[in-house]
């Protein structure tokens, strides 16, 4: 009996392993962030559109907000721009657009030509704030709760569908939790 059962069990185990490992919907390049559940790293950076203005996330404490990491060199960011503009029009939460290792003039041009979905656009020219947030590419989108904790990180371009499925329920929960 064991002689037949054991190989069969091993076969089933392999199938399960492959079903998980070879799942085409699983992005092997997106890594879970250890910062989820931790306080969002603080920053105070100048704004791309108005360099005299300092954008600091300490001022956002008590509010649920989104931090979207983008840059003009990032092809996928152009892809998500339309969705971001549509999301911004709903005025659900403030969207902070961290401009990651970019050229300030190009960034300005991008925002005036393609539209600006952001409530503020902190300029992270040397990428130090991005390191603190564990950014390893663009676009990346973080959700921060009223206590200033990162509660969700989404890697790859955001879409309306992702916004509705992943973000809105979490935003509602974060608001009702306090």
């Amino acid at each position: 009996m064991w002689k037949f059962l054991l190989p069969f069990a091993a076969f089933v185990a392999l199938v399960v392993l492959f079903a998980f490992g070879l799942n085409p919907n699983r992005d092997i390049h997106s890594l879970p962030s250890p910062l989820v559940g931790k306080p969002a790293p603080e920053f105070a950076l100048s704004d791309v559109l108005d360099p005299t203005r300092t954008v600091s996330n300490a001022k956002l404490k008590g509010q649920v907000y989104v931090l979207n990491v983008w840059a003009t060199w990032c092809v996928a960011c152009r892809e998500e721009q339309g969705a971001l503009l549509a999301i911004a029009r709903q005025h659900a939460v403030p969207i902070i657009g961290l401009d990651y290792k970019d050229n300030q003039d190009k960034a300005k041009l991008w925002l005036t030509q393609l539209g600006n979905p952001y409530t503020a656009v902190p300029f992270d020219g040397d990428g130090r704030t991005a390191i603190d947030w564990g950014v390893y590419g663009a676009p990346e989108t973080y959700l921060v709760d009223t206590q200033g904790r990162i509660i969700f990180k989404f890697i790859s371009p955001i879409t309306q569908e992702v916004w509705q499925k992943e973000f809105l329920p979490r935003i509602a929960a974060a608001r009702s939790g306090t």
Binding site: K101, I131, Y136
Partner: protein
């Protein structure tokens, strides 16, 4: 106008005061002047994964993120931070995956232990088959 004219003088004064006593930590080739720090730098950056190009270390990678992380490691070394502090700075932000050899933990013991486990199981099978065969008559 007068203020503007004074600026170069002020800059010169600053230049004369500070860097002369304390040489920059990097030489012209971008290496740390202190050889002890440079060897530590090389060892640490080989141990850290570049997350943009996941099979390269930040020592080998040309990605921008790798350059930024090398800068970070250099600065922390110059500031006198320990290797452990640098590694935990990285894992706090990027997770255990940033290290090529994650330290021993209940979760990572599965990875470290798997080869030995497979070897043990395989060895047992070979041993049993070999023993069975040796008991069989030669002409069957």
């Amino acid at each position: 106008m007068r203020f503007r004219a004074m600026l170069p003088a002020a800059a010169l004064l600053c230049a004369l005061q500070s860097p002369a006593q304390q040489p920059a930590p990097l030489d012209d080739h971008g290496q740390l002047r202190n050889p002890v720090l440079q060897t530590r730098f090389e060892r640490i950056t080989k141990e850290l994964r570049c997350l943009q190009c996941q099979n390269e270390s930040i020592a080998d990678s040309n990605a921008e993120l790798a350059a930024d992380l090398r800068r970070q490691v250099r600065e922390m070394l110059v500031a006198g931070q320990s290797d452990a502090a640098i590694f935990s700075f990285m894992t706090d932000r990027y997770g255990e995956f940033v290290r090529f050899a994650p330290p021993w933990s209940p979760k990572s013991s599965l990875i470290w232990g798997a080869p030995f486990f497979v070897l043990l199981v395989g060895g047992l099978i070979v041993f049993r088959v070999a023993r069975q065969r040796s008991r069989m008559p030669l002409d069957e």
